[in-house]
């Protein structure tokens, strides 16, 4: 079975930046099977109110994530996710 290392409890990792690239947005949408032209066709995204640099909702727009176990105890908390749009 998977061994859980409890020594890392409370450990904080330094922040890191993720650059949102067009190709990555498309790759992510295709992996999910979300063929919305909003993500896959630069012209459609560019003509929208959001411009052409919007990713799918679960791709990079993560501000804070908590992962809980079956007893609802928080196992991991991810925060301060930096989104860089170029």
């Amino acid at each position: 079975m998977i061994q859980i290392n409890k020594d890392v409890k409370g450990k904080e990792y330094p922040p890191f930046a993720v650059t949102v690239e067009r190709g990555k947005i498309k790759e992510f949408a295709r992996a999910i099977g979300d063929l919305n032209p909003f993500y896959l066709d630069d012209r459609v995204g560019g003509a929208s109110e959001f411009g052409d640099r919007k990713s799918g909702p679960m791709a990079f727009v993560v501000r804070e994530t908590s992962v809980t176990d079956r007893s609802n105890e928080i196992v991991v908390r991810i925060r301060h996710t930096t989104v860089v749009r170029l």
Binding site: M1, I2, K24, E27, F28, R30, A31, I32, G33, D34, N36, F38, Y39, S48, E49, F50, K54, G56, P57, M58, T68
Partner: protein, 144 residues
């Protein structure tokens, strides 16, 4: 109709979002998702590793199913409209499983120019077992 525009005034508590039935999960999809997300945990792609870990074989990334759920919201409300999604993973998704995503409107609220709709969201497999439950908030345009 897919990608039809939904207005705040047209939505009522109790309304259900259109069910999104995803094609059966393919092993290659898990590989693609690993690459797209950067989550290369071998438990999702390496059968031998997953068996040795006592998981009985590979299973899908939880965030893949969460992405399906998010897609069901953007198919309905439009891309860029999702404000919040929070889920609890209830069961594993295996290759071959067919995931169906559903949602039901709970409440509506307006503040300034933002019109928010809170929903219960969930997904089930082909046996009707719940794999994810959660809550979501979308921001809809107003006709007014």
């Amino acid at each position: 109709m897919q990608y039809a525009k939904v207005y705040f005034e047209d939505v009522q508590g109790g309304d259900e979002t259109p069910a999104l039935v995803k094609p059966p999960i393919q092993r290659i999809q898990l590989t693609r998702y690993a690459g797209a997300s950067g989550d290369f945990n071998p438990i999702h792609v390496d059968e031998e590793f997953a068996r040795a870990a006592g998981m009985g074989g590979v299973f899908a990334h939880g965030m893949l199913s969460m992405g399906f759920l998010a897609q069901s919201l953007t198919d309905w409300a439009g891309a860029g409209r999702v404000r919040k999604v929070g889920v609890r993973f209830a069961a594993l998704v295996r290759p071959g499983d067919v995931v169906t995503c559903r949602g039901k409107v709970l409440t509506k609220s307006s503040k300034d120019d933002e019109h928010l709709v809170d929903l219960d969201v969930w997904a089930e497999n082909q046996r009707g077992e719940t794999i994810i439950t959660g809550k979501a908030t979308v921001s809809l345009p107003s006709r007014l």
